[in-house]
């Protein structure tokens, strides 16, 4: 098989090719490994998708000893830097963890490897997953393969760009307020955030514990289903993880007859770029062609989701990041005069501007006298948002919105204005606060740049979401190849 043919395979079809013997796992791995290594070697001139790439392997020990019959038959897997991988740098895009090699591997990664996947590399990200453009990485920004002058989105920007650019067949990411869905949208690929608790968080370097969820970034919906099927399930090491009521099935729906799609006016009006709205409306038309009913729904509190999110997430983050104190691992500032000096300078030198901003924000929101006004209220807004979704799902099966308000923007365009940057998550944060699953699929172009279409469902509706997304995807027939070349 030629390299070009190999690169055109989805993960599912590559696995089939390996099982039928048309393709060797080693050839597949080395094809991607070479491309990932080349991008890493290119530095500034590349996309800067990877912070670590696997060593070359020899054909003899094939696909990492994984039995050819293993479900994921040696498929190369790109993994976001914040997943702990034993003996392999896991730095969460931060200076404070430069060179950190954990003594254990995250449960979700271990499960995928157990199913036969093989670690291709660790992908660049916004520091501690705080960002929507991947410009907050201590290891440099990632570039969007559709336009090198533009951002790939974030925080899973390296994972999204690597898949879009054909540097990896698929990638693992995390989503706290949109960190899988938004970069998937900006890079023209599929990204899914499962129900909170569906995938173990054990070994994911935490940003906001009550929101973080791991999920797939893939070429198409069936790949997303395949990866998800091998990640989900209760983990005794994560008390918030749970068993899904059903296995993840391979999506096969071709029609949407009788499926009711709800369009929330709060997330489809002002603030959404015209070109994005056009692509969104066009996709609703496709849905109708497939037999779906499209209705208006209300999510009255959705406009307040961002405000609540920027209290809750920084508050949890300020506590989660307290462990980076220069004592047990990571950076320690040189020449400290005393303990306090060691703490404050280590954290000053080790954390980037956005992380410092959110630590300050979260510490302030939890500090005495402010808890009720900020954290307490934000938790109540979270309750109202969940109730909004519950009543909406009494009326429709799924809620659909644009994934991001804009297409990929220019590097540096929003770095000066935190609030403008935060608005990237306007359409994705409400689902995160409600803990419900949502998927983003590419639905077209605006000014030659990909637009994402988000479908959200009630908790544990993963299979329904995947089926709906799959049916739409077939009709849309989005061409992602511009990103490959």
């Amino acid at each position: 098989m030629s390299a070009a043919d190999i690169l055109n395979l989805t993960a599912v079809s590559a696995a089939e090719a390996i099982d039928t013997g048309e393709l060797s796992a080693h050839e597949l791995f080395e094809t991607y490994r070479a491309r990932a290594a080349a991008d890493r070697a290119a530095g500034e001139d590349g996309l800067n998708c990877f912070t670590w790439v696997a060593e070359e392997t020899d054909a003899s020990h094939g696909a990492d000893g994984s039995t050819p019959r293993a479900p994921l038959s040696g498929l190369p897997l790109a993994v976001k830097d914040l997943f702990c991988t034993e003996g392999v740098p896991s730095q969460s895009g931060s200076r404070i963890l430069e060179g950190y090699r954990p003594p254990y591997t995250a449960t979700s990664v271990a499960r995928l490897k157990g199913a036969g996947a093989k670690l291709l590399g660790k992908t660049n990200q916004d520091e501690f997953a705080m960002g929507s453009s991947n410009e907050n990485s201590a290891y440099g920004p990632v570039r969007n393969p559709w336009d090198r002058q533009r951002v790939p989105g974030g925080s899973s920007g390296g994972s999204a760009a690597a898949v879009a650019a054909g540097l990896a067949p698929w990638a693992l990411g995390t989503d706290t307020g949109g960190s899988i869905r938004q970069p998937a949208a900006l890079c023209g690929i599929v990204g899914m955030k499962p129900t909170y608790g569906a995938v173990s968080r054990y070994g994911m370097i935490a940003f906001a514990s009550s929101l973080d969820q791991a999920g797939p970034l893939t070429r198409d919906v069936r790949d997303a289903a395949l990866m998800l099927a091998h990640m989900v399930g209760r983990d005794p090491c994560d008390a918030t993880s749970l068993e899904l009521p059903h296995e993840i099935a391979t999506p096969s729906a071709e029609r949407l007859d009788g499926v009711r799609l709800g369009v929330p006016e709060e997330l489809t009006g002002e603030g959404i770029e015209a070109g994005v709205l056009e692509a969104f409306q066009a996709t609703l038309e496709c849905a109708r062609e497939l037999g779906a009913q499209v209705e208006q729904v209300r999510l009255p509190h959705a406009p307040h989701a961002l405000a609540a999110y920027y209290v809750l997430a920084p508050a949890e983050a300020s506590s989660n990041l307290a462990r980076f104190d220069g004592v047990r691992y990571g950076l320690r500032a040189e020449g400290a005069e005393d303990l306090l000096d060691m703490y404050t300078r280590t954290r000053h030198d080790g954390f980037g501007a956005e992380v410092k901003r959110r630590i300050m924000l979260g510490t302030y929101a939890l500090s005495s006298g402010y808890y009720d006004a900020y954290y307490g209220r934000a938790q109540r807004v979270r309750t109202k948002i969940s109730e909004d979704f519950k009543s909406a799902f009494g009326q429709v099966d799924f809620i659909v919105t644009p994934t991001a308000p804009t297409v990929a923007f220019k590097l540096g365009e929003k770095t000066g204005d935190p609030l403008a940057m935060y608005l990237n998550d306007y359409c994705t944060v409400p689902m995160s606060l409600a803990g419900i699953p949502a998927i983003s699929i590419p639905c077209g172009l605006s000014d030659g740049l990909p637009v994402g279409f988000q479908i959200a469902g009630p908790a544990f509706s993963e299979n329904g979401l995947l089926d709906a997304a799959h049916a739409l995807e077939r009709l849309l027939a989005f061409d992602g190849s511009p990103a490959h070349v």
Binding site: L82, F83, C84, S90, S92, L97, Y100, P102, P103, Y104, A106, R201, Y202, G203, M204, I205, A206, A208, S209, S210, P236, C237, D238, A239, T240, A315, E316, S318, S319, L321, A322, R323, F324, D325, V327, R328, Y329, E334, G335, A336, E337, D338, L339, M342, Y343, T363, L366, S367, S368, Y371, Y375
Partner: protein, 482 residues
């Protein structure tokens, strides 16, 4: 008990905060085994080192033990218990926060003896921080080293209401709590080894009023003696301040047992702002009826109940019953001795245990004593049946406690301590004593009963205490023709 008079116009108001290390197999939130002096940092994992990405999971037995404590203290068991993060920076705190409980603790309220319980909650212990002084390894003149073996050990924090009034009451009550927890088997409750730690909140108020004065928190009193001395010293310090017309300032204090001095302790986070919020990594713990039943099923008889039973079933005096039940091991020893069928009343046997035996063991554990319950029972029996005198019995007990041995009769034999019966032998000794104390004998005959003392004393000296006091008196009166 009440020596609050010592503070005259002021009455101390004392509440205790007790941290108890639970005797689980593993730590509070990870599978590491608890450490008992293992080499430093050999009992750690990703979770108790606070490595990035690690997550806590609650130890079911720690909750079980917490419920047992709540039942023992008559607390209300919360149907839903929530863990919070207590945020502050310190090298012995790997995550930068302690997982503890805040407004929804495991147990609320309760009472032990005459002291009300405010709450009982679960949390994780800190690691061990050792000052090693000058170190070339790291910049800065002074260094400390952290050993995370202890970090994450399950703790139950028991907080009392301010119902204690004296230092003695504080240590006495703490001993009862220790016995209670030991009988539950939920902790080693050893102060020297730190599995039982006690802080005291102390304030003074004008006697008779019920306002609360400014309180100080006295930490690091790692023995019962230090607790008494520490609290006494702090009461004194506050009394001087108040009588000097000054104000007591709210602060955390450190008691130095060597110097007896009290010094202000540098707080862990000077701006005391712990930024508590619900631990997002742990879901609320639902306390089911099954869990409560399981806790109740594992409860042994509690000291207070045991005292009541001994009093009820054996008609022991309340004092004896409490002395037996409230001191670890004493009641077990007593009931074992009682099981040996000897002809002696329960109260008499209780006196032998609480007065004679306990007095000879001071704070030691009767279970480890040389003397066996059977030996003490037989000894008490020999005294009751006048085979030996009380004095001889005490001598035999001295030997049993010192050298052990399970056969008091053998000691009586070897030491020739058998009582001198009525017979001529004792009569002769009495006659000799009367002759030697003629004037005393006169006064006795004249009706002065007290004067018999020196005569009996002489007889006891002569018989090395083997004679029975009553028998001697009888013979004296006979020979004096009274």
């Amino acid at each position: 008990m009440s020596e609050s008079s010592a503070t005259g116009a002021f009455e101390p108001v004392i509440g205790l905060e007790i941290h108890v290390q639970l005797a689980t197999a593993t730590k509070m939130f990870c599978g590491c085994e608890l450490s008992f002096g293992e080499p430093p940092n050999t009992r750690t994992c990703a979770v108790c080192l606070g490595l990035p990405g690690s997550l806590p999971v609650v130890n079911a037995r720690a909750v079980h033990f917490g419920l047992m404590i709540g039942l023992a203290l008559g607390s209300e068991l919360a149907p839903r218990s929530v863990f919070h993060r207590k945020n502050y920076f310190y090298p012995d705190l790997p995550k930068g926060y302690q997982i503890s409980q805040y407004d929804e603790p495991l147990c609320i309220g309760g009472k032990l003896d005459d002291v009300r319980i405010h709450r009982v909650h679960l949390e994780e212990d800190a690691a061990k921080l050792t000052h090693v002084g000058e170190s070339g390894r790291i910049h800065g003149s002074d260094a400390s080293v952290v050993d995370f073996n202890r970090g994450g050990t399950p703790l139950a924090e028991i907080v009392t209401e301010p119902d204690i009034r004296t230092a003695e009451q504080a240590s006495g009550w703490l001993k009862l709590l220790r016995t209670t927890l030991r009988s539950l088997g939920v902790s080693d409750v050893n102060m020297e080894e730190g599995s039982l730690r006690c802080d005291a909140n102390i304030s003074l108020r004008p006697t008779g009023t019920d306002e609360l004065g400014v309180k100080t928190e006295l930490k690091n009193m790692n023995s019962f003696r230090f607790i008494e001395r520490g609290i006494k010293a702090e009461i004194e310090r506050q009394r001087k301040i108040i009588e000097g017309g000054d104000w007591v300032v709210q602060e955390t204090l450190h008691f130095d047992p060597n110097s007896g001095a009290i010094s202000s302790l540098r707080s862990k986070e000077e701006a005391h702002d712990y930024r508590y919020f619900p631990e997002p990594d742990l879901l609320p713990v639902a306390i089911s009826q099954e869990m409560i039943d399981a806790a109740r099923a594992d409860m042994t008889e509690l000291p207070a109940d045991r005292a009541a039973r001994l009093q009820r079933e054996l008609t022991l005096s309340p004092e004896s019953a409490q002395q037996l039940a409230f001191r670890a091991g004493l009641a077990d020893f007593f009931e074992a001795a009682l099981a040996v069928q000897v002809d002696v009343s329960a109260q008499t046997l209780a006196n032998w245990v609480t007065v004679e035996l306990a007095g000879r063991l001071d704070d030691g554990d009767p279970a480890e004593a040389q003397v066996t319950p059977r030996a003490l029972a037989e000894l008490a029996g020999m005294v009751a049946s006048k085979q030996i005198s009380v004095g001889a019995g005490r001598q035999v007990l001295d030997k049993l406690v010192a050298h052990g041995g399970s056969d008091p009769a053998a000691i009586v034999e070897a030491e020739g301590l058998a009582a001198i019966g009525g017979g001529d032998e004792l009569a002769e000794i009495v006659a000799a004593a009367l002759a030697a104390n003629a004037d005393a004998a006169e006064r006795v005959r004249a009706g002065n009963e007290k004067a018999i003392g020196p005569i009996i004393g002489a007889v006891m000296r002569e018989t090395k205490g083997r004679a029975d006091g009553a028998e001697v008196t009888k013979l004296v009166n006979e020979q004096l023709g009274i």
